[in-house]
Symmetry: C2
Subunit: 205 residues, 2 copies
């Protein structure tokens, strides 16, 4: 049993059945090994999840095309992280639930901080801004994948009805006006809006 295969197999299992169905026993079975054997390679399930989170970020810090403005560089890097999380079912949850210090994760942050420093920000401001961007991406993608999961579940009609019923204009006047946007599935648009807000804030400094 090799560690890299175990990690990619674990990601495949998550893609097939969701994070809640990933168990050490199921992974062991998929690798044709006893459950206990996994603990020779991963100290705990958390360690396995961190390795999965790290693997998901492969390529995210790759070289940026030449000739991009700093705005485009930030947009490109942010888009890559979002896509990396979206590529696997429950990817944002896997990422948010762990704290990887592997090379993919580290070089992604390094690259993002670098782009921000080139705009003239101090190391501290660049780091805080990078954190802001990453936190927004993770929060956004968590929500995006939760919406995806809900859309595929049987609870969708019930939730939508409940939401719609709650949207009494007398009680929640702004929510009534927001309903179309809240129930829209234009996550690309939502993501771009949020990221542009942050980028615009940056330009104002």
């Amino acid at each position: 049993m090799a560690v890299p295969e175990a990690v990619t197999t674990a990601l495949r299992l998550v893609d097939e059945d969701g994070l809640d169905s990933l168990t050490m026993r199921r992974l062991a079975a998929a690798l044709d090994v006893q459950a206990g054997t996994l603990y020779r390679h991963f100290a705990t399930k958390q360690t396995l999840l961190a390795a999965m989170a790290e693997e998901m970020l492969a390529g995210c810090a790759g070289p940026l095309p030449d000739g991009l403005t700093w705005r485009e560089q930030i947009t490109e890097l942010a888009g890559r992280l979002r896509m990396a999380l979206l590529r696997h079912r429950d990817g944002a949850r896997v990422h948010a639930g762990t704290h990887s210090v592997g090379p993919n994760t580290l070089s992604y942050t390094d690259t993002l901080v670098g782009v921000l420093r080139e705009t003239g920000l101090s190391p501290e401001a660049a780091t805080r801004t990078a954190l802001t961007i990453v936190h927004f991406i993770v929060g956004h993608t968590l929500e995006e994948q939760a919406a995806q999961a809900l859309a595929e579940s049987t609870e969708l009609p019930a939730t939508l009805t409940l939401l719609h019923a709650a949207l009494d204009p007398g009680t929640y006047p702004n929510l009534a006006a927001a309903e179309a946007t809240l129930t829209s599935t234009d996550f690309v648009g939502h993501f771009a809006h949020g990221l542009n807000l942050i980028i615009k804030g940056l330009a104002g400094e």
Copy 2:
């Protein structure tokens, strides 16, 4: 057994031992009841968690003091949500893992969208901006509480050493410059920086 007591007891158990230790059986024992009894009041554990998330937001949408600028109103509302999540151990994880459509959650979003509309934003722009702010808060607080948990765990020295060792200026030049900020515990400062970036972006529209 009453539902409100069950929810507050569940939150107390989370505060004492963390979210991973909250089980239906432990909660049942704390309520002096059999585990099966809980399923008469909550269809699944997810339902219980959603009720806990909803309870955490009590008061968050309360009236804003008079005379605040819109910037101050946004800052006040954002700070309330962050504080509500911080008030309970693993609060951000509880919130992020559920999708409440209860009155506390709905009226919080309603209030935030309302403040943003008053700045002149369209319903769509106001809604998207509210989502951006909430996603940032959730992403930030998830990280903040993960750092808290790490700080209280025995893995802290190992992680810090690993991180420091990885910070070779030749490999990660920007991370080396970012280390002080990345390892700082000034989460109030980080939060203010991110939120101000978004608010500044808003002012530019």
